[in-house]
């Protein structure tokens, strides 16, 4: 291993852990909030099971507004809210708040798109079999859309990594922040390059896992 990596080993490991925490929270938020929001976007849209203009428009606007912020501005804009939620606007925990918000909005859109690809006929068959809305969601929609949902989550996670790299502005740390502080600000270009390589490997691994799982699940 290059000397410089050995020299900063502790710090690099700590930064990777911080990135891991931020990614973990983002993924949790995407799945726990983004999946239902995306599902309701789909269900309440025109001609769908729970068609409802008001709910659809509210969710649609919310998702659009969050996604239209340049992420750096969203982080700053949310500082007062972050203080209320975690008690401080500085640190890794505080960094998780804006990440969780962009994460659910980002993934909700992917969810909506994946569900829209489920053939209408399958839903009709479900209705004709006496399925309830809950049955249709869990036993038909999610089953038919599952590879799209996985691929969407994979793409989202890669974006979350990118988002997490700027969390240094609120002292969130993470591997991206490490690269900026040491590599850029202290002119250790080789260190920055190593970090970039680590991140490329990370993204590759995530993408390969996501694509493989999605392909395995796709029987269409």
């Amino acid at each position: 291993m290059p000397d410089i990596l050995v020299q900063y080993e502790q710090e690099i490991i700590r930064s990777i852990m911080q990135t891991g925490i931020m990614l973990g929270i983002s993924v949790l938020s995407a799945v726990i909030i983004g999946l239902p929001v995306g599902t309701f976007l789909y269900l309440t849209s025109k001609g769908k099971l729970l068609e409802n203009k008001v709910v659809y428009n509210v969710l649609n606007l919310l998702v659009n507004i969050i996604r239209s912020f340049p992420f750096l501005l969203l982080v700053i804009f949310l500082i007062p809210f972050t203080r209320i939620v975690v008690g401080t606007a500085i640190g890794t925990a505080a960094a998780c708040v804006p990440l969780a918000i962009i994460a659910f909005a980002h993934y909700a859109r992917f969810v909506e798109q994946s569900l829209l690809e489920v053939p209408k006929g399958v839903i009709e068959a479900a209705i004709s079999m006496g399925a309830s809305t809950k049955d249709i969601i869990f036993k038909f929609l999610f089953v038919e859309a599952r590879s799209g949902l996985i691929l969407g989550l994979t793409t989202s996670i890669v974006s979350f990594i990118s988002y997490s790299t700027i969390m240094g502005v609120v002292g969130g740390g993470g591997i991206g922040d490490f690269a900026v502080r040491y590599g850029y600000q202290q002119f250790m270009v080789d260190l920055m390059l190593y970090v970039i390589i680590i991140m490329i490997i990370l993204v590759q691994i995530i993408q390969i896992i996501g694509t493989t799982v999605a392909r395995k699940l796709d029987k269409r």
């Binding site: 399958v122 068959a125 209705i127 004709s128 079999m129 006496g130 036993k139 796709d218 269409r220």
Partner: protein, 245 residues
């Protein structure tokens, strides 16, 4: 068995089905035929309220589905089977799981599911295929799976929406044979929509000619059977259809 009383369907301003009244008798195969856009599919799809009638009554087993609550409607649908032109199977589930799903939705006892699923698959001749996915099957096989799925809860009536329209003539004959067996051996009443005269002539006991959203005529016919249709170049039904459309 199933009655439609003054059933009308409008989409915004367009009148698709106008004041249709008909009765399907228990045990018969009832055909609906007409040109595309005539409203025959809509009439069929109102029989289980997949399309909700704008007005009128849909009486199945003495209950008006058009005015039932969502819960009652879901219950009623479990005893009305339905198959479609494009089969509408769950592509990510195996043949077995597709059929079992209908049992799961009907809260069929878990311990008896396997036996029942395999029994239905045997009936349509696909028992060996139960581990395959729909994408690995031919069109005719997919429709057989759909039939097994529709039969698994022992429906009293089976609605067939253009069930053979995406199949070749040979496969069409095979599927019609299965439908006929369902009617004769299991005593299931069948309503079938098709734009193909052959299909209707072969298995139906009565045929309803639909034209411009209205019933032109309902007449009893003698089913010609599955065997080669070429021997019957001209029939009464052809004449009737020519009048109707």
């Amino acid at each position: 068995m199933l009655e439609l009383h003054n059933v009308t369907k409008r989409y915004e301003q367009q009148l698709v089905v106008n004041d249709v009244t008909l009765t399907i008798e228990s045990g018969e195969i009832f055909g609906l035929i007409g040109q595309s856009g005539a409203g025959k599919s809509t009439i069929l799809r109102m029989m289980n309220c997949l399309e909700k009638p704008t007005s009128g009554e849909v009486i199945v087993d003495g209950r008006n589905l058009a005015s039932s609550t969502a819960r009652e409607l879901r219950e009623a649908r479990k005893s009305i089977g339905m198959i479609f032109q494009h089969f509408n199977l769950v592509a990510n589930k195996t043949v077995y799981d597709n059929v079992e799903l209908a049992l799961v939705l009907a809260h069929y006892p878990k311990s008896k599911r396997k036996e029942r699923v395999l029994e239905c698959l045997r009936f349509v001749g696909l028992e060996e295929m139960h581990r395959k996915y729909p994408a690995q099957l031919s069109g005719g096989q997919k429709q057989r799976v759909a039939i097994a799925r529709a039969l698994v809860n022992e429906p009293k009536i089976l609605l067939c929406d253009e069930p053979t329209s995406s199949l070749d003539p040979k496969t069409t004959a095979e599927i019609l044979q299965v439908l006929q067996q369902i009617n004769e051996r299991l005593g299931v009443t069948i309503a079938i929509v098709s734009h193909e005269m052959d299909v209707i002539k072969r298995i139906c006991h009565r045929v309803c000619v639909v034209s411009k959203g209205e019933i032109y005529k309902i007449v009893p016919i003698e089913p010609l059977g599955i065997a080669s249709i070429e021997d019957h170049p001209q029939t009464f039904v052809d004449e009737l259809l020519r009048e109707g459309v």
